[in-house]
Subunit: 257 residues, 2 copies
DNA sequence: CGATGTTATTAACCTGTGTTAATGCTCGGA
DNA sequence: TCCGAGCATTAACACAGGTTAATAACATCG
């Protein structure tokens, strides 16, 4: 299996849960449809529509977001390269939120039939999909806590920690930092602050020597300090290979669910 | 099948997704373990622990919540009578949040084996479980939008609309209102406001004649007005029986996942 | 039925973040 | 090379909501 293919990063991410066999990797590769390229602020799928497959971000950056009738917007999740959006889409009639790119992105789609095929023939892969879903939910809960309880500074710091660790998990981070192709106003919609206050907050993070953002990327100067400020505990990302432990509990459930 | 048994309300709720056969209902009833009674602020399961089954709230009121190291707390979800907490618990090693009662509650547990049995023999029931999970997630996304973008007044109003509709879905609401056995300080931790400001906000909602809270219950004076103020659109609760439509898409996936 | 703790209410004051608006950057396109 | 449009940055000011603290209303329980 070549080291760099379309869904190389997805595989890399899933392997944070459990190692995949050659056969499973092949199955994933075969599932991938053609790649589509999107520009910088295009919708992959809109609120109210019905999804027809599972999209995988090959490269770029995307998000889920919801808008209130009067235009206020909240970004409720980021999609990094290797992320899937999303496996549960088959059951509910309509999307209750919109998914859009935040940067030029390549996206491949695992068609519905391919996903069905994988989930009926590859229980371990299925379990990895499920794990991925659960991690996504855990991230959502963290965002709720952040927005509800953390100060502006902590909130931005926490988001940066999360993005950095998630980028690491797919090998897209260096010790110095990682890409974060997002404008300040998009950051504002993410952490529920005004654009102006995001700017002030970034300035402060720079001043105290923790992180800085330049030309759409994150430069980490003091990861330990950033973590401490954010009270960041990466446990919720479940990145320490729980596959083996899981096996004992989930085999039957996953096969049948 | 008797009209009022332990998991009567769970069944009632699941039937918002699709009607269940007599056989499926029996299977659910047989799955239910003994009832446990909890007092008012007891933990059902704590962050870091591993869950051993699916708990169903028979009566009472509970919540998921997370605490920051310094004591700030965010409630990230409510469990009403009939709610399950929660079906996905089998896969991840540890809970990333705590579940506690907010009022005296009776809780029954579907043991792991019983859930496995149901999910392997009753695909439609399985699908209903899944639907339930997806609705829970959609609720989480709404809370994120609320806390991120809505004002205090809108936030509280939106929460009240949601609770009222969810209580209706299990037959626990009257045209006048429903129970909401939660203190103002717990409300504060829910909507991410201070206790004092929750009090101010309730006063204002009372003053304009929309809702009032007295002795742990919600008295709705003007539902239309409340909805309008909150910009509440119940669509995300997916309560209009999507079962039939779903069947076409999800059968294979659900059987195998 | 009073003692005690919890919850609700209110007032006065404070602050973190929002708003508005002006200025300056940066980068892709003609 | 210059233009234009979106971004970033900053300052001045406004306000929603937080904090503190005091009191009042309820429960619960001997």
């Amino acid at each position: 299996m070549p080291e760099s293919t379309l869904i190389h990063l997805l595989i890399r991410k899933l392997e944070n849960f459990a190692e995949l066999t050659e056969e499973e990797k092949v199955a994933l590769h075969e599932a991938a449809g053609p790649v589509r390229s999107y520009g910088s602020h295009e919708d992959l799928i809109r609120e109210g529509e019905h999804a027809h497959g599972v999209s995988v971000i090959v490269s770029g950056f995307a998000c889920r977001h919801k808008m209130l009738p009067d235009g206020r917007r909240q970004i409720i999740g980021y999609f990094l390269p290797g992320d899937m959006c999303d496996a549960r889409v088959f059951i509910l009639k309509k999307m209750d939120h919109t998914i859009s790119t935040l940067a030029p992105s390549s996206v491949t789609t695992l068609p519905r039939e391919a996903v069905l095929n994988i989930t009926s023939h590859h229980p371990r892969l299925t379990r990895a999909f499920w794990w991925n879903t659960l991690v996504e939910e855990a991230i959502g809960r963290q965002w709720l806590v952040s927005i509800g309880q953390r100060t502006a500074l902590e909130r931005v710091a926490h988001l940066f920690c999360e993005v950095y660790v998630r980028m690491q998990a797919v090998g897209l981070a260096t010790p110095e930092g990682c890409e974060l192709p997002v404008t300040q106003s998009e950051l504002a919609d993410t952490v529920a602050l005004s654009t102006v206050h995001v700017n002030r907050t970034l300035k402060e993070l720079r001043r105290v020597g923790l992180v800085s953002m330049s030309s759409k990327s994150l430069v980490i100067h003091d990861l330990a300090g950033l973590r401490a400020l954010a009270m960041f505990d990466p446990g919720y990302l479940h990145l320490e290979g729980e596959g083996l432990i899981k096996d004992r509990y989930s085999h039957g459930l996953l096969k049948s669910l």
